[in-house]
């Protein structure tokens, strides 16, 4: 009895304290994609120390993020798959990219080290289409004359859960292979012609490490942290490029954001000699017409702070920050598109 009354008093005390702190500033809430969660959390922590504004971000998945922002239960939604301009218009939303991540094919071929295997987009698509089924296929050999490729079956490993990573990867395959585009297409989960499915990046990595002769795809940070052997890819200009922060940033830089309404731009097969061909930005969704302009202003201030002060933090976590030129475009779109109830612009910087 004593214990319970004590804990009851304690809980009142705690409740009082939290109420007191939240009274100082507006808290902002967001929900959605899991991929950018680490960087949003890191930004939020530093931002809170600096301004006292707290960000409550629930990484429930892009699908959930879109649902929650449509129902207006959060101040912003987050999605790895951008909404089309039409879908944005219909829901009365705007979207903007925050950070860029790369998707890399990882392999498990005995005797082949990281970066040694070279593949073109078409070859990669044919492997995932089950048209190339052995590692010593002449098409792979012709790109890798010096590699001793084994006569073993290729096992494709893909994501079993819906994921922005899958969307970016499938989007790339449909850009480089007509057959992939018509047969499979691109979405957060697709009907895979072949292979085994792992749950999450860690699931794909675990399968790829267990199964000899396998090829899968994971987020770059994941491949880097776990030292998974990666593939060198041929980009749209015919150059062979290794995956790293520079080659992802090159994709973000050469992308034509200014001519993409609603920033609907997937950074796959982008131009540029140094560009890694499979990258993608992650996006924030907000309502154009804001019922709570003070919350929206706080959200914008937070991301503006992230763009200007968060680059190093992003790089530390293997995300590519948005280039300055793109940030200017984004903030210009805030100014013209985000309005309070009275029609006044929320962002005026």
């Amino acid at each position: 009895m004593q214990v319970s009354s004590f804990s009851f008093k304690a809980s009142i005390l705690v409740a009082g304290l939290t109420m007191a702190t939240s009274a100082f500033a507006v808290d902002i809430t967001g929900a959605g994609a899991t991929f950018p969660y680490p960087i949003y959390a890191k930004w939020a922590e530093s931002y809170n120390v600096k301004t006292g504004v707290k960000l409550n971000y629930q990484s429930i998945g892009s699908g959930g993020g879109i649902k929650q922002i449509t129902n207006k239960t959060v101040d912003f939604g987050a999605s790895d798959k951008p909404l089309t301009p039409e879908a944005l218009e219909k829901a009365g939303l705007i979207q903007f990219p925050t950070v860029v991540g790369g998707v890399v094919p990882v392999i498990n071929i005995p005797g082949v080290a990281t970066g040694e295997l070279r593949l073109s987009g078409e070859l990669l698509a044919n492997i995932f289409l089950k048209k190339i089924t052995r590692w010593n296929d002449p098409a792979i050999k012709s790109l890798n004359p010096s590699l001793a490729l084994p006569d073993s079956a290729i096992t494709v490993v893909h994501r079993s859960d819906g994921s922005g990573t899958t969307f970016v990867f499938a989007n790339y395959l449909s850009k480089v292979s007509k057959e992939w585009g018509t047969k499979v297409g691109a979405d957060t989960s697709v009907a895979w012609p072949t292979g085994v499915g792992g749950k999450g990046n860690e699931g794909v990595a675990a399968y790829a490490q267990r199964i000899k002769g396998s090829i899968g795809y994971v987020e770059y940070a994941y491949a880097k942290e776990n030292n998974l052997p990666v593939v060198t890819m041929q980009n749209s200009e015919g150059e062979f490029v290794k995956p790293n922060l520079e080659s992802f940033q090159s994709a973000a830089k050469f992308a034509k954001w200014e001519s993409a309404p609603g920033f609907y731009e997937i950074l796959t097969n982008e131009p540029g000699k140094t560009t890694w061909p499979i990258a993608g930005a992650t996006f924030i969704l907000m309502h154009k017409s804001q019922d709570k302009p003070e919350n929206a202003a706080e959200v914008l201030k937070f991301f503006d702070w992230g763009y200007t002060n968060g680059s190093l933090m992003a790089k530390g976590l293997d995300y590519v920050p948005m280039p300055d030129s793109v940030v200017k475009l984004i903030e210009a779109s805030w100014k013209t598109n985000l309005k309070g109830k009275d029609g006044a612009a929320i962002w005026s910087k």
């Binding site: 699908g63 798959k81 079993s160 399968y207």
Partner: protein, 354 residues
């Protein structure tokens, strides 16, 4: 009974523990009963009312089960309507699963659910039976407790641990040592050979079935052990006295005496095998592909739900997953109903024989 109770309660009033929320009031009334005999009738009224209150409270709790069940069925049904409207009954016979074209069918996960559960039961039932028989009939006394405790510990391990163990330890072992053997020896068999042919990845429906069997064994065997233990020693000793072997005692005395409990234990295991999620998700390979080979990756209803629900975008996709959930619910219901029917028939036959 009631006077005995009141004595006990009065004694308790001096102590520290309060046994149930209804008790303090009860105590008050009972203490008063002792103090003044004149107000007995009034107190009886209060006691009767409290009894009634207690009756309705417990009834409400019991009916809560119905309310919950009904709520879940209605929610699942409402949620599955969009998919059922779009695809009709063909949903259950189609093996398509294409989120891009919004074409969904439940055949692959339903098939996978049945096959993995079947493998689990084929392995799990004989092993559980053996464990239970050994503990109750054959084991030296000093070994009974350690085995019993070990089984209970196995039952307490979270399923995700089984999944991780399955993926990191069991699957590689299976791929290197068991699957090549199965491929070479069973894969050559006519007709059923195709079931055992496939790349030795260590991941697939057979592995999932094995892991499920390991997860089912603690449940089934501990229920079996418990029911075997209630067989009166006199019956068994009599059979032994007549010169029966252990096998004969088990088959002719223990099993007939405990068949209800044994079937119950098997059903408990089957229930777990059908609904198990995380462990299966780790090792089954999660591919929406229908294949005759047990070595190939497949999918079960619960692992499809675990994998895809969070990122399912669009009404039809979500609704298709909910329809799968409803299907699992119905399958479990049918299995339970069949088990009850089986038990009733067993009981009826018993009546005829005697």
């Amino acid at each position: 009974m009631s006077s005995l109770n009141s004595e006990v309660e009065i004694k308790n009033a001096g102590g520290e523990a309060v046994l149930s929320p209804a008790l303090p009031l009860n105590q008050q009334s009972k203490t008063r009963e002792v103090k003044s005999m004149s107000s007995t009738t009034q107190n009886k009224n209060i006691g009767a009312r409290l009894d009634k209150l207690f009756h309705y409270t417990t009834m409400f709790f019991a009916f809560l089960v119905f309310i919950l069940l009904f709520g879940i069925i209605v929610t699942l049904f409402m949620g599955s309507l969009p998919a059922l409207k779009t695809f009709g009954p063909a949903f259950f016979t189609s093996s398509a699963w294409n989120p891009v074209d919004i074409q969904f069918g439940g055949l692959v996960p339903i098939y996978g659910t049945f096959i993995t559960a079947l493998i689990a039961m084929l392995i799990g039932i004989p092993v559980s039976f053996g464990i239970a028989i050994f503990i109750t009939e054959l084991s030296p006394v000093w070994l009974k407790r350690p085995i019993g405790i070990a089984i209970e510990l196995l039952a307490g391990i979270p399923s995700i641990i089984y999944g991780m163990w399955g993926l990191f330890v069991f699957a590689p072992f299976f791929a290197d040592h068991v699957q090549p053997w199965i491929n070479d020896n069973l894969g050559e068999l006519p007709l059923i050979g195709v079931v055992f042919q496939g790349p030795p990845m260590g991941i697939g429906m057979l592995t999932a079935g094995f892991i499920l069997a390991i997860m089912v064994i603690p449940f089934t065997s501990s229920v079996m052990r418990d029911v075997f233990e209630i067989v009166p020693t006199m019956l068994k000793e009599s059979a032994y006295g007549l010169g029966s072997t252990t096998w004969e005692v088990v088959w002719n005395v223990v099993l007939p005496y405990t068949k209800t409990g044994v079937v119950g234990g098997i059903m408990l295991g089957l229930g777990r095998a059908l609904g198990e999620t995380m462990a299966v998700t780790f090792v089954i390979g999660n591919a929406h592909e229908l294949s005759a080979s047990l070595m190939m990756p497949g999918n079960t209803i619960s692992s499809a739900l675990a994998n895809e629900f969070t990122e399912a975008v669009g009404d039809v996709y979500t609704s298709s997953l909910i329809t799968l959930g409803l299907t699992l619910f119905v399958i479990t219901f049918i299995v339970l109903a069949l088990a009850k029917l089986l038990l009733i028939r067993l009981a009826m036959r018993e009546g005829k024989n005697t």
